[in-house]
């Protein structure tokens, strides 16, 4: 078990290293940030001054080492645009993103799991078809469109909810629905297929042969086992929602991490983009590592076969 965990941690470190190299290279391929920081049409010597000021005139390997040093010190570099440590900006926005992602996750679980179970239990019925339609709509309706429709209906026409920004609980409703909607659909589909698979297994047949009531079979035996992959996906979704809800955060002017990333890309703020992506990678890899270790604890076959 110890060897398994050590190996997993090593894999994670390698993955983070590759991620850091990739994002470092990609942002530099987007162009020269000095052009956006200096006045339009700045002279070559002005551009050179800006590059020197921000260390952009140094060779890429030196810049990369500096970037990694900043990662290890936890500062993540200094934003070109905000003149603040990226970590400070990140942690200022993190509570907003967590708040939004948690509520969106709750919505996606509350919609996706019950609808998935009903679809699986009443397979090929009207309920199942309704579930399929919800899943199809969830996966095909873009979040930005849904967000704008919500604003139009609930803010402009009905005047029930504020259009955008942060504040009390009412500010959270529309962005959380728009964000959670897509994830509800994916959870619905996974719950349905996972439940169908479990319902066909031998132990469920045995439970039924024993004469257990159908509700007990579903709730006590099928549901618990079908839920493992669903919660795994929900965990990964949560991390994605925290770090990459770019469109929803832009539409609802929600000051979260996704918007921070968007602003960084827009302004070619290399340290900001690198920092946010590395933090997102760290979270996703961390969650996956945790899930792998938990699986290995629960199921000994996993640690033996890998």
């Amino acid at each position: 078990m110890r060897q398994f965990i050590v190996l997993r941690i090593l894999y994670s470190i390698v993955t983070l290293f590759i991620l850091s190299m990739t994002i470092f290279t990609i942002v530099r391929l987007t162009g020269d940030p000095a052009l956006l920081m200096a006045e339009p049409g700045a002279r070559p010597e002005d551009l050179a001054r800006v590059r020197q000021q921000w260390g952009l005139d140094r060779p890429w390997p030196v810049q990369y080492i500096s970037f990694m040093q900043n990662v290890f010190t936890g500062e993540l570099g200094k934003s070109f645009n905000y003149r603040l440590p990226v970590s400070e900006l990140y942690f200022q926005r993190l509570p907003n993103s967590l708040q939004l992602a948690l509520v969106a996750t709750m919505i996606s679980l509350l919609v996706g799991i019950p609808a998935g179970i009903i679809s699986a239990v009443r397979v090929n019925s009207l309920w199942d078809n309704l579930g399929k339609i919800i899943a199809l709509l969830g996966l095909s309706i873009p979040g930005f469109w849904l967000g704008l429709v919500l604003i139009l209906v609930f803010s402009v026409w009905l005047r029930w909810l504020p259009t955008s920004g942060t504040g009390d609980w009412r500010h959270l409703i529309m962005p959380a629905i728009a964000l959670g909607w897509y994830f509800s659909a994916s959870l619905l589909r996974l719950t349905r297929s996972s439940m169908l698979e479990v319902m066909r297994s031998e132990y469920i047949k045995l439970a039924r042969l024993k004469g257990l009531p159908e509700t007990v079979v579903i709730a006590m035996h099928a549901f618990k086992n079908a839920l493992i992959p669903v919660f795994t996906l929900a965990g990964v979704n949560l991390v994605v929602m925290v770090n990459a809800a770019v469109i929803i955060e832009v539409i609802f002017a929600w000051p979260g991490i996704g918007r921070l990333l968007y602003e960084g890309i827009f302004q070619r703020d290399f340290p900001l983009v690198q920092g946010v992506v590395v933090m997102a990678g760290f979270m996703i890899i961390g969650v996956n590592l945790l899930v792998d270790v938990l699986y290995a604890f629960i199921d000994p076959r996993i640690r033996l076969t890998r």
Binding site: G31, P40, G41, D46, Y82, T163, S164, A253
Partner: protein, 532 residues
Amino acid sequence: MMRSPWHRLLVTVLIVALVGGAIAVAAATAAADSAKVVPKGKMTLAWHVNIATRWLDPQEHDGTATTDNFTTAIHDALIKNQGTVLYDHPALAERFEFAQDATSATFWLRKGVKFHNGEPVTPEDVKFTYENYRGAKADVLKGQTQRIEIIDDRTIRFVFNGPFLDFPLIFGTANVSGAGWIVPAKYYQQVGPDGFKQKPIGAGPYKLVRQEPGAKLELEAFEDYYRPVHVKQFIIVSVPEGATRVAMLERDEADIIYFVPGELIGRVKANAKLMLAPVLSGSWWLEFPDLQNPKNPFHDKRVREAVSFAIDRRAMNEAEAGGLGKVHGNWINNDVQYAIDWPEFERDLGRAKQLMSEAGYPNGFEVDWLTPAPAYYSRGERIIAQLRDIGIRTKLQVMERGIFYQKLQAGLKEWPGRQIILNGARIGGSWANWYEGHFKCGGFNSKDRFCVQELDAKFEHYEKSINPDERQKLAEEVQRGILENYYFVPVFRHAFVNAIGPRIAAERWQDVFQTITTGYAFPWEDIKLRDK
């Protein structure tokens, strides 16, 4: 009926006393009113992109128009562009004198002006601001300045190396340079440039109370400002999505919104409570890289003129700016010094085809690319469709904004073959900034794409001249030279369409957007809320 002289005298004295009294009362009331304006209420501005913290520090002014919105709220300048005044509206300086030989400028500070921390604005602050300034045009200003003399506690003089005619223009235009926007020397040195950007202190009508970097600024009226400030709380919130901004206005969550996208203009127009504010903004024109090359079809003036005849400028304005822009003849905005007015170019397809035939292209020709300034790609599509009518066939090339400017600044090698660029700009100050940036051979954006020696020689003469009349004459000659020869083909001046909500007291949009040199709503202190 006869009256005694005493009676007449008495009546006269009474009338004089009554009228005099009434005048005195009215004058006293008016004076008291202006003196005791108590700022009240809250006004929210929905800003259209994110809010970059660096915009709060005029010492690092990037030379664009974007920073004005923030600079004019938090900071103040000695002289500035305001209303219809291009650059010399007295602000922190109650007056200034520019020497007749243009070798010095003297400013007298207004009595009692203060920074938000209560410290007085002193000549030492002005000197520090200028000497420490490192933003746009810093090299020009410092290169031409020999010394700064503090005459007394309210007077400061800038002495130049030689005649420096453009000094007031550069110094006093908010979207050209930040050197005239005074920062408190002691505080700036104490907190450093980065600290200053987080908690800027200025002498402007609003002081910063709180900042959420990138997302929101909370400002409060500075009651010691030398002009009355009418609104107590001023919130600037970044809302990048246009539809959300319009929804905020419809719901009274915002009072002013910037940049209503074309597809939403109709929705705002249809709402009787809202008011559109189509501020005329940048000009758009077509340029033909390598036109000096005889092998290039655009070398022939007749081809360039044919292009001009083929462009449907009114349709462009209608489609791209809801008809709220302006079709005008010059490619240089008329809100800068020495810009000339030029009649609208007509559309005449018959004449265009005839010119193409005369030039030897009766069936037109292929152009490798037409590249519009990002992200105005639909404008490029329209031009392509219109040019097809006279046989000029081309394709749209799109590129990211940074790359576009990088290519412009790299010169002709980045624009091989036959190319058309649909360019646009809004540059403040003087016509010379436009010419130098976009047309001059070796200019910062034009590089070697066009080299018209005759006009460049005149421009050089203009730069060296210290005679204002001669400069104006040369400026006009150069602009005429470009337009008469169709070196650039002007398209239209687009509108930066903003909107105003019902809480703002305004009869017409110009009451809020008073300053003609900007698309923003300053002077902020003049904006009033309606009484409930």
